[in-house]
Amino acid sequence: MTKTAHRRPAEAIAVRPVKAPPPAGDRRRRRLAEQLRAHAFLIGGLLCFALFSWYPAIRAIVIAFQKYTPGSGAEWVGTANFTRVWHDPEFTAAWRNTLTFTLLALLLGFAVPFVLALVLNELRHAKAFFRVVVYLPVMIPPVVSALLWKWFYDPGAGLANEALRFLHLPTSNWSNGADTALVSLVIVATWANLGGTVLIYLAALQSIPGELYEAAELDGASLLQRVRHVTIPQTRFVILMLMLLQIIATMQVFTEPFVITGGGPENATVTVLYLIYKYAFLYNDFGGACALSVMLLILLGAFSAVYLRLTRSGEEGA
């Protein structure tokens, strides 16, 4: 870079006299041509954003207040969609399940990767191997991991109960029991996704300056105290980021309940996104589906806004 910087002025001097300042009309035309060219590069991407991002966002809000049937048009109905959806018994179940799912996923998918990353960071051998293995489930298609665990949860020949029997523990209904189904799904989601979290934690742990640990140890801090007073404060930013990301991701859970439990038993695993899907494709009620979408949009949009705000301030700080 420095090389070109040194060479450039000479070239610029050699070229500049040739290009005499053009007349004003010419300059304007050239600037217009430049703009046209710039927008020609933009147009493809811009059209896609307009059609599949901006327009659907506006449309979701519009249809939420309409009775909408594809092909035969729309009719304004005020807030009727919202009240109808609100009084659906599945509505409460869906939101309760989604929030519980998110909370459980946060406890499991958040603490476990942190501890795992802490331990892996201390290991002196086979680190690369662990990194590959922990990320392996992330690369297995979500549908496959859902089907795989559905098979594990099978009350008959399922591996999950077999493992419990092996450990002389009472067996469980897993995804077939109304009170265990949601937890079973959280386990699947955690297994399938924790690899990414572990890798991000590992990267964060590696950026902690070793002197901090040394100083803490000289002050007589025990291992747990070092975790509490050095590791956690030093990675606080990453922890917060991942927590927000996890909330945003898990509140949109769909594949696991759809594939493993079909929302059952007794609506125990119906999630908000599943309910949106049902309204649109089972009840053909696009107004209701969009009303639900708007609710989810507002809630998650708030989390996303905080997340983006924090990442941007973090980038400026770095």
Binding site: E11, A57, R59, A60, V133, P141, G210, F286
Partner: protein, 288 residues
Amino acid sequence: MSAATRTLVSPATLARPRGRAVYWTVFTAVVVLFAVAFLFPVYWMVTGAAKSPDEVAQTPPTLVPKQWHLDGYTDAWDLMQLPTHLWNTVVQATGAWAFQLVFCTAAAYALSKLKPVFGKLILGGILATLMVPAQALVVPKYLTVADLGLLNDPLAIWLPAVANAFNLYLLKRFFDQIPRDVLEAAEIDGAGKLRVLWSVVLPMSRPVLGVVSIFALVAVWQDFLWPLMVFSDTDKQPISVALVQLSQNIQLTVLIAAMVIASIPMVALFLVFQRHIIAGISAGSTKG
């Protein structure tokens, strides 16, 4: 590198006999945990498909198939029309990748280097979509795709894939770092904007193009809800949707074999590019 940096446990502690004993105990425990939690399910899947239908249903299960039945795999290949669905997935993923690469790099280049009017506003609009959770918009997006007559058409996967603010921003940020001087030098040599993009910017952007490519491919291959909505025509469905649709009335061993086959491409991609993928994930995070 990691041997030199000091972590939670000091090297001195590890050097002591007791520290060494603790270290190796923890190490063994981690190895066992990883084997059981992450590798065993995968092993169980691969071997489960090779068992006979009776053996796979028997309790207690067998750890190693008594007899290796590879016809589970061949049956899956034929009965579930895996070639069709795999091909559909390949078409959808590579198309989405190509569209994304062409349109996103062009747009990112324009936003980064060509100073379009309203460029700031456009970038703001693109970044604003990061705040919108993707799945919350699937229904209106579906209606738009239906209005455009793109249902059961791979374009329904390709075009929305371009509207990926994250990848576009990643590219734009990378292009921002390319010094103006380099581009100007090329222009003085008589290169047009497209030529500069093609012969100067893109060759310099190999790392970020690699990351975007992997993200794009993996995202389409792993997606389920969107293709489930868009492809009602069974012959057009990608493997993820077909697996779920067919899982109801097919023999378990055949289904498991199909699951293994569906996993192979992405796992293979990961094993080949694991260094880059892992580095990409780690780097992307520490910057934040």
